[in-house]
């Protein structure tokens, strides 16, 4: 039987879009709905029954100091890592972009070095950090001791641990942001820089604000969204280095989710945490599409 041209084209569309759509529905949308429903129950892993508890899990989350800690820690961590790694990524990319004109080999070596943390397994890298930051044997404190300074316990000081983790988070994402910014810089037409020079905007500062920064708009937006979702998702370093401690001082949302769900088997409560996390990431994405997207594409 010969199908009409139109129905053949519809079949092609379904064939192309279908598999990915099915995978998304089965692996993302359905689990999200199940998790959302579970967050209103007291279900525990392995239990034979559960009760509907309404907003109880969310109320606990707002009143329980441990859960509040996880949320505020995540926000503080994100507030440090997002701007710092974007700013540093941009600075490094600008530097390497100019360096590549003079000494291409040195620049590409540096680029590889900056990108290494992205390519390496973070858990393995976290172990290296653990050794570097060891209070007495670590290289960092040994160097400080050589200068006559008593180095702090980077990962076990309650006031310090979150910032130490934030620095590791920055170290890890600067390379990725740098590569994205480098691609953005390479795509800026050189005619625009020439025009800016003839128009009197040739000095470094004016050139940056007249050409580079506006033209990097789409890249910056993408980098921001990637960095923000990455910062909210911080897990590996916390799980490997501190397990949320000492005394929940480095507890973050995803780690709390894991602990409540897979250590204490409180699936209902863990689901409620998951939904809060999900909404945070959704907010970032919605901001991207709703507001910022219109401002950075000039068409």
């Amino acid at each position: 039987m010969r199908l009409s041209r139109k129905s053949r084209s519809v079949l092609t569309d379904i064939w192309l879009v279908g598999p990915a759509t099915c995978a998304m529905i089965v692996l993302i949308f359905i689990p999200v709905i199940i998790v959302a429903l579970m967050s209103f129950t007291d279900y525990q892993f392995g239990a034979r029954s559960f009760n509907w508890v309404g907003w109880q899990n969310y109320i606990v989350m707002l009143t329980d100091p441990t859960a509040r800690h996880a949320v505020t820690n995540t926000l503080v961590y994100a507030a440090i890592v997002i701007p710092a790694s974007i700013f540093l990524g941009l600075i490094v990319a600008l530097g390497l972009h100019h360096l590549a004109l003079k000494t291409p080999r040195f620049a590409s070596g540096l680029r590889a070095a900056y990108f290494l943390p992205v390519a390496a397994t973070l858990v393995a890298m976290a172990v290296v950090w653990q050794m570097l930051l060891h209070p007495s044997l670590g290289l960092l404190n040994q160097l400080l001791a050589a200068m006559g300074q008593q180095g702090p316990a980077w990962l076990s000081d309650r006031g310090l641990v979150l910032y130490t983790l934030a620095v590791i988070g920055i170290w890890q994402s600067v390379g990725y942001n740098m590569v994205l910014f480098l691609a953005g810089l390479a795509a800026i037409p050189s005619d625009l820089y020439d025009a800016a020079e003839l128009d009197g905007a040739g000095s470094g500062w004016n050139r940056f604000w007249t050409v580079t920064w506006p033209m990097l708009g789409p890249t910056t937006l993408f980098v921001t969204v990637i960095t923000a979702t990455g910062a909210f998702r911080v897990f590996e370093t916390v799980a490997t280095l501190t397990k949320g401690g000492p005394a929940f001082a480095s507890d973050v949302l995803v780690y709390a989710m894991y602990r409540e769900g897979f250590v204490y088997f409180k699936a209902g409560y863990s689901s409620a945490l998951t939904i809060v996390f999900f909404l945070l990431v959704l907010l970032v994405t919605a901001l991207k599409f709703g507001i910022l997207e219109k401002k950075v594409h000039y068409k």
Partner: protein, 372 residues
């Protein structure tokens, strides 16, 4: 007046400009004509101050401008890509050179809306932007972003941005090559009119010989990093200095016929009346100068006819197997293809070039009488 004095520019091993010297009189329209990669855009960038020569110097009004920045030279440039800032409106694009030169950083910042003196200066520049926009006919586009404009409109914005600060020299880098054919002809006339109206020197880079010939007072044909010939459009057409220039200039491609290696003209031209030179030569003859004539000295068989309305292009195969291209007026009644045909050409239109160097041999015409 702009003088380019023995300028050389190399990129690594590659010599892009080799000892180039040119002069553009004040208020004149100079075209740099050449194929891509001939160094014409590099020369324009040297004049603009976007690049520095390895040797030689550029003088504007007698003053050596080697050390000066692009801004200090006060030149304006129109780019092939227009190079408009996509995030700024048309008014802001045109006003940017003024803002950068005449407004302080505070004037340009949002604070500039507050201080009365800053506001005065800002509204002055805005008034000038409006005036220039009106002069190129884009007053109604001032609030749009470049992304919402057509190619021709972008071209006008780029021209307005160049005009707004009254530069001493306008540099145009293939400004018309991204426009459709009809608009290109219109913009050609408008740019020439701007040259006359402003009284400034224009330097126009192009690979299109029609553009160069129709717009410029003087044309520099650049080939392989050298100025192959510098002269008026008429000089380029009537007395091309070399075989390469002759090949580059002219609407219909010129036909070349090599003479025998032992020297002298090819036998088919013996009856035209050009004295036979002693050395080996190449004859260049433009299709528009080779016309059918009953008593013409060149004979061949009509092979192909291309009717173009105003004229007819003919391919004629001569006895020795050489194909000549000739033209006839549109009302000429062609004989059937394959029949014998006679062609004539005035000796003054036979360009004789040295077979080895490609240089023009002038002596060939002396004393030759027209036989057409």
């Amino acid at each position: 007046m702009i003088e380019i004095d023995a300028v050389t520019r190399c990129f690594g091993e590659n010599t892009v400009l080799d000892n180039v010297s040119l002069v553009a009189e004040e208020g004149s329209f100079l075209a740099l004509l050449g194929p891509s990669g001939c160094g014409k855009s590099t020369l324009l960038r040297l004049i603009a101050g976007l690049d520095d020569p390895d040797a030689g110097c550029v003088r504007i009004k007698g003053r050596d401008i080697s050390g000066l920045s692009a801004v200090e030279r006060n030149v304006a440039m129109v780019f092939q890509s227009y190079a408009l800032y996509p995030h700024l409106s048309v008014a802001e694009n045109i006003g940017l050179p003024l803002a950068m030169r005449e407004l302080s950083r505070i004037d340009r910042s949002p604070l500039g809306r507050v201080f009365p003196a800053s506001r005065q200066r800002r509204s002055d520049t805005q008034a000038r932007v409006k005036k220039v926009a009106a002069s190129v006919g884009i007053s109604d586009l001032l609030d749009r972003k470049p992304g919402a404009l057509s190619g021709g409109q972008k071209q006008r914005v780029a021209l307005a941005r160049a005009l707004v600060r009254d530069p001493s020299v306008f540099l145009l880098d293939e400004p018309l090559s991204n426009l459709d054919a009809k608009l290109r002809v219109q913009m050609r006339a408008e740019i020439v009119a701007l040259n006359r109206a402003t009284g400034r020197t224009f330097i126009h880079v192009t690979h299109d010989q029609v553009e160069a010939m129709s717009m410029a007072d003087r044309v520099a044909v650049m080939l392989g990093g050298r100025v192959a010939q510098f002269g008026t459009p008429r000089e380029l057409y009537e007395t091309p200095s070399s075989r390469d220039v002759a090949a580059f200039v002219g609407t219909h491609p010129i036909t070349f016929v090599s003479g025998p290696k032992s020297g002298g003209l090819h036998p088919i031209f013996h009856g035209v009346g050009v004295p036979s030179p002693s050395g080996p030569v190449v004859i260049g003859i433009r299709p528009e100068h080779l016309t059918p004539a009953p008593q013409g000295p060149i004979t061949g068989r009509l092979h192909n006819i291309e009717y173009q309305g105003a004229e007819v292009l003919l391919d004629v195969i001569c006895d020795t197997g050489i194909t000549l291209r000739a033209t006839a007026t549109g009302d000429w009644q062609p004989p059937t293809p394959g029949s014998e045909i006679h062609l004539a050409c005035a000796p003054v239109h036979m360009h004789v070039f040295d077979a080895d160097s490609g240089a023009r041999l002038e002596a060939g015409h002396k004393g030759a009488a027209s036989c057409a």
